[in-house]
Subunit: 319 residues, 4 copies
């Protein structure tokens, strides 16, 4: 193995640049050449490929987004698309790849490995919804952005004694809501993994008000329902002077937190080591503070489990 | 004059606490006693009034919101409400007041002055829509929060070559949009004070894309239309992979910027000096870097003018 | 057990307020009464003790420092001091305690337990130098503050092609330096746990410059030597236009990161659960993402081990 | 005039990139070609000059530092150096220049104008020490960074009832200290423009302590004396558990505030307009919210005057 390629795929996440940097530097340190592939699998197929030097990844670790750009490219699910990609790998003499992205990106990684091009997947998504990893690259930053917003809403909630319904990202998983809810001091956290009863919540808000709770925040995972709809449901049970806020795409951007940078750096270096060991078709994770890897095939049969102890914790300390 | 009262009214704004601190400390420094009134005019009428010491306003300058709480209280437009308020002022021996809030709060200030209780108004609103002042308390912080969000959206816009329509606050005035647009490097700024043609904008976006502009942000003042509606209109003219984001109430909160803290401190101290001079019925402003005051009556006949040179500047440097 | 007390001791750390909030709320949720003790062991001895309600810990989770104040109080090492403290516990009817602080605070916790007052210790220190816990409360925030500063120094280092020697906190342990170094993209990390040779470092800086590395940052743990002394040593081997910067006490303050808030909340609730189980003399930790506890006695025989894999990682990816 | 050049000189300041962007985009908008000159006057003499496109300045407005790099180059004071620079201008066909930097940079701008190359100076320095402008590019960001640090020190100062002596930047001018002091809620501000008596200050600190003031911050302009020396002097008069902190070069970096970005954008566009009007030898400023220009020659006879009303304001509201 002499040359490796690297691409980012699916939704962008803070820390992707830190991962690209680590992959690039580690590979160069081990005597490999590195090629960047723009726009994910779309760029692979189109041959949008260029050599990456140590210098190219300088001053990148602190930047949000991905400087290799990302794109969704469902066509790579077809053999035709894959063969076009492999043609490009041959043309550029690339022997193996690192792919940073979400669940969907791993399918392509598996196909490339099957075609003889060892490919390692790194979990880059703010949603934290990938199996066999406690944390994904970008999750800590997204939580941090959400909590920063919740802190600001607390100021105005306190001043006006309002109730805010804050919709945070996480289509299928409640992780962002759970972490942002506990860290933001939310009155209630609503996640897809737990049932809820709006009437009961309205009752709690009412009692909270009566006990002098001035700054009530309800954190809602987007996978459950829309904030505006939740607010409307809530308003049926009383006048809570409530407001709905959707944090939205802001959560995808921003300079990655130190935790995300360190995680991305560790995972990126580890991916190169796996390739050097002749491995492929693996997804890198962090489990119990250790960097691990699992067969991508196994991931498809598994489901990420959020830390629901946070839900129960919040119930007992949000008063 | 021995005792002054202070209240915050209308929508809360970052820097209100800094203003309360400055009023309190300056007044105590000049030998006065100070009383805080909770919940604006509603609290005045209800007698929710308590003595404020220098210590009470310690560790407050950096906090968002208002620790005196705020509320809208239309009933204070009636003489009945005013007389109840005056009864409370008599009861607590308060001779004069400082009121921090938006346009609406100034009506109450004028009525109290007419009843013999000199009252000075400070412009506390993130909208910057008050006449006779270049800047209101809270505006700089709101712009800062909006620009921070736009910077984050730039990350993800660049990574995916998306177009974002970002709705910022400012019902009647385009100030937040103008400042956040220029500072955020927006492609376009849409404000109530200037006409626009969505078809032309779509054309510009299309051309920008063709010239390689990867991170297009359109900043939209909420007074013009909803971001989601704007996006739908835009989408009629092409596929821009556009997204709508509403920054919302987050812009009201957060630790005030140094500029807002300094402005609030200067204005707060000045308000006390005006009261000591036996003045009332005045609104404090900052014009050409100098703290000034104007008859509140004159404000009602005037209209705030945003700095539209920012609009033209942006047209020439957003490429 | 009906009443528990809580105090913070030693150097303050971001997240202490989140821990106090969690202890208070969990205890109240379980039917206990809670008393806050100001100024650590000094306040215990002096009887500076007051009841804490759920309301008292509202709007605290996001605040840096500790609203119970902290103090060093070596006199508590003597039996005399301890007995005075116990007298106060009797007076206020407090049966058990939670103590948040560093290593030193645990001695007092052990003594109180020996005297029959079950006491649980929580690791509150930015240094991360406590055995049997992967992370202490405050560490993530301190790293975040340090990295924020390093990012800013990168801007000016790049603009002027300067070398910065940045001294970060951590007297006995290199943890802050290791994390901030990797996350900050440092050229070199200097920690007490690893030898270094300034002449070799000077050589590396020289070679880095020649290869076009414009923004060199050397992160130095304060336990090794002073930044100014390091800079002087470095300057003996060449003209690197170097500057020394000591981040200092800024690293102790600031709003805690979500990670610190969640950690503090989990640990605080867990401490109450241990007391309810009739346990004492234990130190709470987080190991492999699980909240754990160990005999404080065992801690005294152990030594915290930083994650030195970060050192090696940085050597291979800092170019 | 067909081609203009742009360089940054002296100490870097946040907002320089925003100014470069505005100059470049405005010039291109007006049909000019733009050349970037790296490393200030040193790069001009060395011919480190390259064409700048609209794309080159994309995604720059939010970055700290200067992507054209900066350097001090005293040799440009000599005619010999100037003639070498002019040779390069001829070679690249550059007719006029914009120079962003501090006081020193303006001498070069004047000399180039005298040689027939109209040059406009923009005030880029965090110190705010330039005559005929109320604010320099970078000042607002530096104050913001300083206040952020002071807020963090407040947390730990409150928790431990310590006194912090915080040294902020500003060699010859007290502006950063005055703004950061008022905005940071400092107990005292020490600037070169006002005398002070350490004994009296110690007395004030003592009295403050007795009145319950827990978080005392003394903000010291670096031009007065070193924080460590001040602390030592202070300690002669009592035990204040004081700490000295030097904020240092961190104040030079970081993403520019919206205010700095807007100011830099306005000034950059205006500089191009002046060149198009055939003007040179002028320094751009902002006075009373209006963008203005003055003969550079007049600047050399003038002295910047800080807003000392802030000093008096702080005396009356810091209790």
């Amino acid at each position: 193995m002499k040359r490796i390629g690297i691409l980012t795929s699916g939704g962008d996440a803070p820390g992707m640049n830190a991962a690209i940097r680590a992959v690039t530097r580690r590979a160069i340190d081990k005597g490999l050449e590195v090629f960047g592939i723009n726009y994910g699998y779309a760029g692979l197929v189109a041959g949008d490929i260029f050599p990456l030097t140590s210098d190219d990844v300088s001053d990148r670790i602190q930047r949000g987004g991905t400087f290799l750009y990302s794109a969704r490219y469902p066509e790579f699910a077809n053999v035709e698309g894959q063969l076009k990609g492999i043609e490009q790998l041959k043309k550029f003499g690339i022997d193996a790849l690192v792919v940073i992205g979400g669940d969907g990106s791993y399918h392509g990684a598996l196909r490339l490995t099957e075609h003889g091009y060892n490919t390692i997947g790194l979990p880059g998504t703010i949603d934290n919804d990938i199996p066999f990893t406690d944390f994904t690259i970008g999750f800590d930053t997204a939580v941090s952005t959400a909590v920063d917003a919740i802190d600001k809403l607390h100021d105005t909630a306190s001043s006006h004694e309002r109730t805010f319904v804050v919709e945070v990202m996480g289509r299928g998983a409640g992780d962002v809501a759970l972490w942002a809810g506990v860290a933001g001091g939310a009155q209630k956290i609503i996640v897809p993994e737990r049932d809820f009863d709006i009437k009961e919540i309205a009752q709690e808000v009412k009692e909270g008000r009566e006990q002098g709770n001035k700054n009530m925040i309800i954190v809602l995972a987007e996978g459950v329902m829309h904030a505006e709809d939740f607010k409307k449901e809530l308003d049926k049970y009383g006048d809570f002077d409530s407001r709905a806020t959707v944090l939205g795409h802001v959560q995808r951007g921003g300079s990655p937190t130190p935790k995300d940078r360190v995680l991305a750096s560790k995972m990126g270096a580890y991916a190169v080591d796996l390739l050097l060991d002749g491995k492929g078709g693996l997804a890198v994770g962090v489990e119990n503070n250790k960097i691990t890897s699992h067969d991508i095939l196994d991931l498809f049969d598994s489901k990420h489990k959020p830390d629901l102890s946070l839900y129960d914790l919040n119930e007992s300390i949000s008063r």
